[in-house]
Symmetry: C2
Subunit: 422 residues, 2 copies
């Protein structure tokens, strides 16, 4: 148990946090300053060895489960479920140095801060990194945290095959990270993840931190349009069954849909492939993707229904055949109201500007939210750039985020129950 | 000079025409029944050897010019510029057996019909095939006929490089078809090309033959949109500079433009390439093509202007950079009114249904039209399919087209001047 005055005056060490971020970024380093630590690769193993080494140096006990999730524990003065923070240390092929890593290394920085101050929390503290959050080498993404909470059978995760043809179980054996900690894992008292926003909102609004309200629901659809190839000169417009036009019109519709729905609805047609894709041939076939996201499940369903209806209408009008395939579907996740407000209030009390906002991307926290009260802290991303070597967050913002994480963790570890805003 | 009664009763031999079409289709034959005789390849040489062999067997004198155009002459009873028919024998990679070949082999069939009847025309007759009409291996298309009429310097054509990195001059030497006939070539008294429609209009309207009024003007533009790559989940709609959306919206605009302009205006966005082309990334860059065609130059210019204006508007609205590059631009060609009407009247007199219509694709006749009175005869294309092994025209339609060509050629060769409709 830590006294309230001692607790409130604690601050993390920015230079030490930056040093660890920098050292981890050397593992799987790219020439352009970015990181390439795809899950279960040699570079991932190097990152894991480095971080688990730090965990042990800080006196924590590290357990590895059979999907490679690492959970480091620091005992509390009482036996109780731990307060957990953490994130992931795998990256996409063109990753930055903050995505995921920040949440894990800020956790270690908090532990070292407590060690230096000689303080023991009431509840145990846990710092975790979850395997294969990115899904960039092996689907699904958030694999480790989903297995951790019992949402994906271990056997299924083990049998997943990477884009380079390797089974997860074999890769875990190869890098020595198929452990024996129980699955599902220890259910925390609460889970808090510090992460970069990966979007432009905080920076654009000049706000220091985000109290994340949840994660948008995601609906990915692949649409295939089969029309008829025709000569672009000899075929009058009324004779055409132009798969390319249908794809383009549907992509324009997705934009109109987001405008009409407004609110949190976003929609993207990021991929379009025409066949034969020639200047003077009406496209025989088009394949395109639609990414729809909303924080509200009912609205997301409404968006999906309107897209389906529009595709139906245009297929009839243009005399083409349209088939669709769901590539991914996740319902929105709402974080614990108490944790959201604790993050917001703590940020204010530390002098940061803060706003509530939903996460647009997937995060391990959304899987932990199935098992325990969960929240997230966002730091601004310069220009909203992520999954890119240019990903950047100012050191002062990293520090502010880590200090909010520290104070939130301490509040959660010292109080009987999660505080409710007055 | 042939008497009018002898002339009017002459008919070509369908079986003989089909046999030659079939034999030529064996050169560069594809497994799927189509032809692959890209210009200046070994297969093209085999086709050339076969056809020039036939020309000589028919007693014609064959001259080859420095771009490989072949002109076979049959003397008339008077010294005069010849009445010429012909087309091309190169094909696209996935070509059919009628495109081009029909016009050349129908010409030989006419010569053989006259030989069999022991008839000599007043003016000389010429049957020609022009090099590289398709442009599928080496730009520009209609290369041979353009050089023939002096529209493209020989040196420039010789220096053109194929998609497989070969110079035209070297390829002509390699296949032995760099001849010494003068360039520009002999200017005919008139030129008539029999060709398949390559579009659906005649078949759909149940009309037997087409009297071609000219060739649509063509405007090809490549449009490059540079926006900003962003995460499809974390980037609110209002923050986006979505190159993919701009491409889609512009493609939908091209359709609206053709609807608003109506008439002969057609427009096609046949190629769209997004970068990075991923489901969850707002496209950084889009490259797409716009193919606009009209029979009226002023209207075609108006369509181009409206496209440019729209691209400008949307670039400003979406905060993207748009650059354009002209890939091709040909003004519409109008054929000689007398030849058009002669074709139409001749078809009627032979019992065919016929309509005037413009050609939607490019043809050698449009180059010859720069030098002499020119017209074309179209036969129907089943389902409008061409540049495809499935390309088909019924034998009775081939025969009807060849007989109209025969009678038109004879009229042009026997009369003092091209007849004018009463």
């Amino acid at each position: 148990m830590i006294g309230e005055n001692a607790r409130r005056s604690l601050r993390i060490n920015q230079a030490r946090l930056l040093r660890r971020l920098d050292e981890l970024a050397q593992r799987g380093a790219r020439d352009d300053g970015g990181c390439n630590r795809l899950a279960f690769t040699d570079a991932d193993k190097e990152g894991r060895d480095l971080v688990t080494g730090w965990m042990r140096e800080l006196g924590m006990s590290v357990s590895i489960d059979a999907i490679g999730n690492a959970v480091a524990m620091r005992p509390g003065s009482e036996e109780a479920p731990p307060v957990m923070c953490g994130s992931h240390i795998d990256t996409v092929r063109t990753g930055g140095r903050y995505d995921g890593n920040l949440g894990v290394l800020a956790g270690l920085e908090i532990i070292e801060t407590l060690n230096d101050a000689g303080l023991t929390t009431r509840r145990p503290l846990a710092v975790a990194f979850f395997s294969n959050e990115e899904g960039a080498r092996i689907a699904p993404d958030m694999m480790g945290s989903l297995v951790y909470v019992g949402g994906l059978p271990l056997e299924e995760a083990h049998a997943a095959v990477s884009i380079d043809g390797k089974r997860v179980a074999d890769e875990l054996d190869r890098i020595g990270y198929r452990g024996d900690a129980p699955i599902p894992g220890v259910i925390p008292h609460a889970f808090v993840e510090l992460h970069i926003e990966q979007g432009p909102i905080l920076e654009a609004e000049g706000i220091g931190l985000g109290a994340v309200t949840g994660v948008q629901g995601i609906s990915w659809t692949e649409v295939t349009v089969r029309g008829q190839a025709n000569h672009a000169g000899t075929t009058p417009m009324s004779y055409r069954h132009d798969a390319g036009y249908v794809a383009a019109e549907a992509a324009a519709f997705v934009r109109r849909l987001t405008q009409e729905m407004g609110g949190a609805q976003v929609g993207t047609v990021g991929a379009i492939t025409l066949d034969p894709n020639l200047v003077n041939v009406v496209a025989r076939k088009a394949v395109f993707t639609v990414d729809l996201r909303n924080t509200d499940e009912k609205l997301l369903q409404a968006a999906e229904a309107r897209l389906a209806e529009h595709l139906d209408t245009i297929a009839k009008a243009e005399g083409v055949e349209i088939t669709t395939r769901k590539l991914a579907r996740f319902e929105p996740v709402e974080f614990d109201r108490r944790v959201i407000e604790l993050v917001e209030d703590t940020a204010k009390s530390l002098g940061s500007t803060v706003r509530q906002l939903p996460a647009g991307a997937g995060h391990d926290a959304q899987m932990l939210a199935r098992a325990c009260p969960t929240g997230m802290v966002f730091t601004p991303s310069v220009k909203g750039i992520s999954h890119n070597p240019k990903e950047h967050t100012d050191p002062s913002d990293l520090e502010a985020g880590a200090n909010v994480l520290l104070q939130v963790i301490l509040t959660l570890s010292e109080t009987d129950d999660i505080p409710v805003r007055a």
